[in-house]
């Protein structure tokens, strides 16, 4: 797992409080396989902490605009987003 965060790149959209903490609305995560599960991706993100504050802020993944559980596999062709708790209306 430690060296799974290399090579190909996933581009993540980030919003709200996460976007603000990251000071960017996208986040690039290099991976070394064609695809990884969202669970693995989450671990990658945690490793990049504390810079990301991922451990403090709850979020779920949206893949191609659909909320997915962490078994789902993603590749660089997917549109991936981190969705912190919502508060529209």
């Amino acid at each position: 797992m430690n060296n799974s965060c290399e090579d190909r790149t996933l581009k993540l959209k980030v919003f709200g409080i996460l976007r603000e903490k990251l000071k960017s609305n996208t986040l690039s995560i290099p991976i070394n396989n064609n695809s990884i599960s969202l669970e693995e991706l989450k671990n990658c993100l945690k490793e990049l902490d504390p810079h990301l504050s991922m451990n403090e802020i709850n979020f779920v993944f949206a893949v191609n605009k659909v909320i997915c559980n962490e078994n789902v596999k993603v590749s660089s062709s997917d549109e991936i987003a981190l969705i912190p708790p919502i508060s529209g209306g």
């Binding site: 709200g16 987003a81 919502i86 508060s87 209306g89």
Partner: protein, 140 residues
């Protein structure tokens, strides 16, 4: 008609669009920036959205509403950007032959926007502080 917009929401235009000579009832909900939260005085709210995904979800909600109720028209609009106290952040409007359907569909619309649309808000307080509103996990 569903959308995310950046400009002021024109209520009268929306009421005009909801009009339908075969409808006897229009129910109209507007969400407005309040001058306070549970702790402090609020000056305005900044709204941010994952716009493309909100579009998808609004389409789904629209389909559900037409499938579940016998209504004529459905409008749901959410504004983003910085809004001052008193400005309208969201509108849901329904026209139907009878009022029961319009009330139910309108209420369903706003409930589901709040539960399912990836939109976030940050309140700007009169004190000068600003803070992201503690939200709910998306339930899509």
């Amino acid at each position: 008609m569903i959308s995310i917009i950046k400009d002021t929401i024109d209520q009268l235009k929306i009421l005009e669009e909801l009009k339908d000579n075969s409808s006897g009832a229009v129910v109209f909900f507007t969400g407005i920036v309040r001058d306070h939260n549970s702790k402090e005085k609020v000056e305005g709210i900044f709204y941010e959205a994952y716009e493309e995904m909100v579009d998808e979800i609004l389409k789904k909600i629209e389909n559900e509403v037409f499938k579940n109720w016998n209504i004529k028209k459905f409008i749901a609009i959410h504004r983003i950007g910085y809004l001052k106290v008193g400005e309208i952040s969201v509108i849901v409007g329904v026209s139907s032959e009878h009022r029961k359907e319009a009330f139910e569909a309108c209420s369903y619309g706003i409930d589901n926007i709040k539960k399912r649309c990836p939109i976030w808000k940050k309140e700007k307080m009169e004190s000068g502080d600003s803070e992201w509103v503690e939200g709910v996990m998306i339930n899509e």
